[in-house]
């Protein structure tokens, strides 16, 4: 992948999206990020496939896991939480941490990125419900604007030409987040 070209593409799409939505408003960062990353990863082929699925209610996961599964997950991802909690506390921690670290939900990962990076997982557990609720409540529907989709589609087409290496997911995430922060910083000036 040519990272400079990719960086230029990210800057371009941010320029377009920045005119449509207020990127400074907090919840937009994870939303924009997950949108961009999704399209990088899946491309148009997946989007078309998803559009072809008959419209209907979606399935949901079985979130109630066995004690053994919960403990195994916490031992792998949050040993300190496992050690310091009773059964009820472990289940509560699991319900917050599993979507973030286990399913790697792009929206939640971006929302709790700082805490995940710094290992402050107890903060994720304690503030999970409030922060997710606040973030969801504040999000209007910027993607209802056709210009939003046009910008993302153009970005996907251009990104596809760069043959992104998906094994470098973290690197791509970091680059996008860095450019978003840079964009916001420049807009402040």
């Amino acid at each position: 992948m040519d990272s400079r070209k990719f960086q230029a593409l990210v800057d371009e799409v941010l320029g377009v999206l920045g005119k449509i939505v207020n990127l400074k408003a907090f919840p937009f960062l994870p939303v924009i990020y997950s949108s961009i990353f999704y399209f990088v990863k899946r491309g148009e082929a997946y989007r078309n496939a998803v559009r072809a699925i008959p419209v209907g209610p979606r399935s949901r996961i079985v979130i109630n896991k066995s004690k053994r599964f919960v403990d195994d997950f916490l031992a792998q991802h949050a040993p300190s939480v496992l050690a310091g909690s009773d059964a009820r506390g472990r289940r509560r921690a699991f319900s917050s941490l599993y979507p973030v670290l286990g399913l790697r939900d792009p929206f939640l990962l971006a929302l709790f990125r700082d805490e995940v990076d710094s290992g402050d997982l107890q903060i994720v557990v304690d503030s999970f419900d409030t922060r997710v609720h606040e973030a969801l409540a504040e999000i209007p529907a910027p993607r209802s604007d056709p210009a939003f989709w046009r910008a993302l589609d153009a970005f996907v087409r251009a990104s596809a030409g760069l043959a992104l290496n998906l094994a470098r997911e973290r690197e791509i995430q970091d680059l996008i987040i860095k450019r978003v922060n840079q964009y916001l910083k420049e807009r402040k000036k």
């Binding site: 997950s34 699925i53 209610p57 996961i61 004690k67 053994r68 399913l103």
Partner: protein
């Protein structure tokens, strides 16, 4: 009578129809986008788009009471938003407006709505019973609602509550659930979602070989959302680790073979797990 007023009237009527058609298209677009966003686990975007779909559809449904499609979209968006009672009313209106629906849609929405009330009241057994009825109704009368109802039913019954303290009672309850889910799988062997649900029950029963096997089949048959796929992968790998820890080393080669078939970078990492911790 001059023809001009008729022409004006015709234009007004056509304009209104055009406006309603445009609104209906907008509502559908929001709904399709919401589904797309939900499938890729973007819950913020999905919630916003489902709300827009519901609101746009409500505008047409309110002004053009005969618009069955608008009521239908409104009801489906409400299901996704967990507004089951409103969904029931929307499906009833869709049917009254001529939509080709049985009353199953209404009844399933109503059952799921009442189930969520029982769930909130911490009465999971009653909620599960209602979800089971919703699932059976959906299977016969509105297949689109079958898998979501089945997932809610299984999720409620595998939950560990105070009654789970009695291991015998718990084992009996899970064994009963396993039999019912297995029957569903036998009726629809090609459903990846049902295989996933069976795998989840097997994990609770600590039958890790069966849990692993059903998760493999679920992956092979296909799962409708990214979230389900990831959860299934996690269960599959959990079962694999338990099997290896218990000395079932033959699963090393089996896991490696499937991982290779799916294009995983190694036996224990799906591509979506690539980001470092």
């Amino acid at each position: 009578m001059s023809r001009r007023p008729l022409v004006v009237l015709a234009l007004v009527v056509l304009g209104l129809a055009g406006c309603a058609t445009h609104r209906l298209e907008t509502a559908k677009t929001h709904y399709v986008r919401a589904v797309e966003l939900a499938d890729r686990m973007d819950r913020g975007g999905a919630a916003a788009e489902f709300s827009r779909a519901r609101d746009e559809a409500a505008k047409i449904a309110g002004s053009h009471a005969g618009d069955a499609q608008a009521w239908l979209i409104k009801g489906q968006a409400e299901i996704e938003l967990g507004e089951f009672e409103e969904a029931r009313r929307s499906f009833a209106s869709a049917r009254a407006a001529g939509a080709d629906l049985g009353d199953g849609w209404e009844r399933v929405a109503q059952l799921l709505g009442v189930a969520s009330v029982y769930e909130a009241m911490e009465m999971p057994d009653d909620a599960a019973m209602l979800c089971e009825t919703a699932m059976k109704t959906a299977k016969k009368e509105c297949p689109e609602m079958f898998e979501p109802a089945a997932a809610r039913w299984v999720n409620l019954l595998v939950a560990e509550d105070a009654s789970s303290e009695d291991p015998k009672a718990r084992a009996k309850q899970l064994a009963g659930l396993e039999k019912k889910v297995r029957d569903l799988v036998e009726e629809t062997p090609g459903s990846g979602t049902l295989r996933y649900l069976l795998s989840q029950v097997e994990v609770h029963l600590e039958d890790f070989a069966e849990g692993w096997g059903q998760a493999v089949l679920a992956r092979e048959l296909g799962l409708p959302t990214e979230e389900l796929l990831r959860d299934n992968d996690n269960s599959l790998l959990f079962c694999y680790r338990q099997l290896i820890e218990s000395g079932r080393t033959e699963y090393d080669a089996r896991q490696a073979a499937w991982a290779k078939r799916w294009g995983w970078p190694d036996a224990t990492h799906a591509p979506w797990m690539a980001e470092s911790k």
